[in-house]
């Protein structure tokens, strides 16, 4: 934002030569012209849908064939009441909670461990970096297919565990389905956070470690007093990302646990929006759920950022 002040042209045209000013006007028009396609895109894909979803959420709304129009009567907060009293919606929010409780600590600990291990001259360093990053750039659908195969009732993991295999198996077990989704997402995204922590570690001053050594601090003390506070911005980002990811889960519950099953134990708000809004034809309900979700996600990530800023 601050960089908007530092345009190179501002100084050159200020003397007010008529030609310069005319050229300035022409170029100003060009700037507007250059950003117009992007603004139209934002309008079509973000602004209008956002306004539309709020509008739908206050009306009784039906899908109609293209061109046909059914009346959409105003219903006030009725859709919101339906959303907030729906037990399955409650379950989907609980599931985000389960997701966060598993995903955030696991991501922070594992990413920090791997990043610290990578942060030195090591053999095969770039090989390790590439290996960790691979799931992050690979399509969810492909990875879900392998996980289903690995963790299926008759899969490799259960064969390896023998008598210790859970019954019912991982992905069809009421208590394990949601934790498995959390585990899958942690695995898929960990590489991104390893790189994030690795970058954050470069900003932790080496002199701090040296000074601490001189003061006789041990490795544990140095880790907690220097490394952990030093990478706090990255940790905040992990939390915010996890909230956004949790609120947006769709492919995983839809494909990995067969449509949020068993008994909605792994359902997610976006999956519900799809099932209620498109499969069952209640877009008004889905729109209200979407608005609730946008508000919650923005509020929670704002609070997280504020809290961690205070922590600094």
């Amino acid at each position: 934002m601050t960089l908007t002040q530092s345009s190179p042209r501002a100084a050159t045209t200020r003397p007010g030569a008529p030609a310069g000013r005319r050229r300035g006007h022409r170029r100003a028009g060009i700037g507007t012209l250059f950003v117009t396609p992007y603004l139209l895109y934002v309008l079509a894909v973000f602004a209008i849908p956002l306004g539309y979803t709020v509008w739908i959420s206050f009306h009784r709304f039906y899908f109609t064939a293209p061109g046909a129009h059914a009346p959409s009567p105003w219903v006030g907060f009725a859709n919101y009441r339906d959303v907030l009293t729906d037990p399955v919606v409650g379950r989907s929010f609980l599931n985000i909670g389960i997701f966060l409780v598993i995903n955030v600590p696991l991501t922070v600990v594992l990413a920090l461990v791997l990043a610290t291990a990578l942060n030195a001259k090591m053999p095969f360093r770039s090989f390790f970096r590439a290996a960790y990053y691979l799931p992050y750039i690979t399509a969810s659908v492909a990875l879900v297919a392998v996980w289903q195969f690995l963790f299926g009732s008759d899969g490799l993991v259960n064969h390896a565990l023998g008598g210790l295999a859970p019954d019912p198996s991982w992905l069809v077990n009421t208590h394990l389905a949601m934790p498995m989704i959390a585990l899958f997402v942690t695995w898929k995204q960990l590489g991104f956070f390893v790189m994030l922590y690795l970058a954050a570690l470069q900003n932790v001053g080496k002199d701090l470690y040296e000074a601490a050594s001189v003061d006789g601090a041990g490795p544990v003390r140095k880790f907690w007093s220097i490394t952990v506070p030093g990478v706090r911005p990255a940790t905040t980002l992990v939390t915010v990302y996890a909230i956004v990811t949790g609120a947006n889960l769709f492919s995983e519950p839809y494909l990995l646990t067969g449509g949020g099953g068993p008994d909605n134990s792994s359902t997610s708000p976006v999956l519900l929006m799809y099932q209620k809004g498109i499969e069952q034809g209640h877009p008004d309900f889905a729109a209200a759920l979407g608005v609730v979700l946008v508000v919650l996600v923005l509020a929670v990530s704002l609070i997280t950022r504020k809290l961690s800023e205070r922590g600094n």
């Binding site: 100003a28 053999p123 889905a286 729109a287 979407g290």
Partner: protein, 296 residues
Amino acid sequence: MSTTVPTSGAAVPADAPTGSREGRRGRAVRLAVLLVGAVAFLFPFYYMVVGSLRKVTAGDLSSAAPSGLTGGNYSAIDGALSLGRSLVNSGVMTAGVLLCTLVLGVLAGYALARLEFTGRGGVFAVLLLVQTVPFQLLTLPLYVLVVRDYGLGDNYAGMILPFAINSTAVFLFRQFFLQMPASLFEAARIDGASELRILWKIAIPMARPALLTGALLTFIGPWNEFLWPFLVTKNADMQPLAVSLAGFLSNLQGTVSNPTGALMAGACVLAAPAVVLFLLFQRHFTHTNIDSGVKG
């Protein structure tokens, strides 16, 4: 695992005395942690490839061994969901997004960095805001608009629209144009070059690394995307590979003799382009992601 943290955390500087016993032990612990990590990350990929090549793809312990290999699973998945057609659809969708981002996104990035116009600060604020709004939360109204109002269901334009201009890439282009020396642009302007010419002749040739990174980042999104194309393509002939493979995963499996093998073959084909691009241009992937991540 947590006990290894302090040891490795303490030895952060690369100049730790490697000759000493402590240094050597630290290195060994580090390497062990990294190896365990690599196995956890890579094994599913290995298992996917081996599963796609085995005549019998089952979950027993011997299934991880590369034996009894065949290419039959690839022809089976091709028969079940016409791989070529799906790949063309994925390709058209991805190419459309790339084209829009590289043309319209570069124009926007250049204007935000190098041109003055009313409301530039506002446009930049919009750019930052858009990156924080989760797109999935807007899928329902977008679906109503695109399929019902615009009539773009089962249509490439409808598939491309929500991803058309990648905001992260626009941000990246802006940062890159901003870093270029101002004198270059001033000189060209004094010579009377038009902005389009300056962009084409000066800025773009210098911005090649940013364009490559932007293109790679942009590629991953639509190629891997499932939810949106799943919603707007009901006609199997229009479905990109992620969608047709997901369909096979949930209900088509009975149609071939080794369904898991065929599924793994499809997963390999879906994963391959992104993995190959990543291995070729690794540096360009990781660097910017971190930069934009930390700043965003």
